[in-house]
Symmetry: C2
Amino acid sequence: MEFNKILVINVNEEQLSPSHWVIIDTISKKRTHLAKDSNKIVENLNDTDCLLVGFGVKIDKNTIDNTPNLKYIGMFGTGYGNIDINYAKSKKIVVCNVPNYSTESVAELVFAVILEQLRELETAKKQTRNGNYSEDGFLPTEIKNKKFGILGLGNIGKRVAELALCFGADVGYWSRNRKIDIESKGIKYENADDLILKSDFLTLHLSHTNDTENFLNKDRIQKIKKGAIVINTSPMELVDIDALEIRLKSEDITFILDHSDEMTKENLERLSKYPNCIIYPPIGCITKEAGINKQEIFVENIENFLQGAPTNKVN
Amino acid sequence: MEFNKILVINVNEEQLSPSHWVIIDTISKKRTHLAKDSNKIVENLNDTDCLLVGFGVKIDKNTIDNTPNLKYIGMFGTGYGNIDINYAKSKKIVVCNVPNYSTESVAELVFAVILEQLRELETAKKQTRNGNYSEDGFLPTEIKNKKFGILGLGNIGKRVAELALCFGADVGYWSRNRKIDIESKGIKYENADDLILKSDFLTLHLSHTNDTENFLNKDRIQKIKKGAIVINTSPMELVDIDALEIRLKSEDITFILDHSDEMTKENLERLSKYPNCIIYPPIGCITKEAGINKQEIFVENIENFLQGAPTNKVN
């Protein structure tokens, strides 16, 4: 089985390897590319039976209605919030995404940014570059024996929990569902508010849904332990930015974020003013290894759909 | 039992907590402090039966001969290379040191500096501070599945090996003696030269002895895998600096050091010229927790000696 026409929207040539593009060409008669601009989509949809879409592309009821032969939507990424998956399902269109490609990439980043902060590596490097080789003034602490709270225990949260346990931390988690398998390793299930109150390191690994929007609300942000390091590699929609700003002003927590692409420049600039808010570009998911995983899962999803055994179906 | 007179050389008041000084005063009739200058030692030695010495203090045959009532030398640190422990033994003088106080502190630093380097955190922070929030140009790699070579498997090397295993690396070690217990965890014993040739991360955890001086010699430095990150938190006497400089010029390895106090400023400045040589101040051993361990072990050693059961005796 093959597709008649694959329309690729907002997945650039360099985001897939040449060999992956060859596979895509093998399984379709035609392939057309569009940039993100969704106004242009209408022109090309009549003979399209497969849509491959990148970040930020909106596939709504209207687009689906304008694509009468559509059978498959492949999301090049994990988040599919811009795709009307229920309407697609009602039209028997399969939607697949790419989950878990960056588990290790994000988990390693969490420890990278914590340890960088604890050991003041930026200051240390700058100082030796200026010819001062002394350790005077540095008084770091360790991860070992500290309270390490994880909010959200999906694949990434779970991997972070395992690593925190290796570092000898006292690891607690909160998640919508308890994960008994991980509790047997010595990771404790705790009330989210208790974790926020007690944790020296607090890291968010929740996905952004209506339920989790502003999860770290004003009340919870005020409860964060003095001196804590809070890490958010998840969407900043989980955090009430106004309340965070107030807490940052008190200078008694450090907030580290690997910002999500959705975050407005205005909000980034607002938080940038605080030396105790450390902003990284969205480098959490972009290791070379994560990139390879992402491509492979994306293309395998398409092949598996054609073979009648779709993988990573979300609707 | 108590000491008649404790002479403290080069251990500053602030290096021990007030409560530890109280203990030391309880177990001695008198206490005198001297700075590091060993010329002054002679004046005070006749009634001294306990020497407590800090970093860099030389206790040679002559000093021992001039201290006729000496019973105990307590080293405030791990390295006792400046103390003639054999001559002390011949005079029935017990020498004790403080080992293993900083195992976790050093092991966490090793992962801090590796991850900082892999994720280019300094560049990333600088960029967002300048208003550029893009991930363009970053292409990090992961620790997972990389070859992780550990040279020297004492307490620190062992802990680094355990953590590398948690991160999912392919961990190999070389040590003078094989450690079968750790091999059962999946850490492989390998020839030092093979490890040097194959490792993506290579970390040195050997102590400095006549045997290990210039352990990373010209031949071995030339063999380091292209693209490898080499970490040395051990004394730089393990490394042939001339040969390292030549290899750094080829710009195909990164060398990260947490310099030892023994390293000359001249050598530090020499290596500072290379952007692929990252020099940290000696921040490996100085976490708050390591400092507390060090004080406790040091004072317990003295108490245990007086109770007839010396601990951490090195002669």
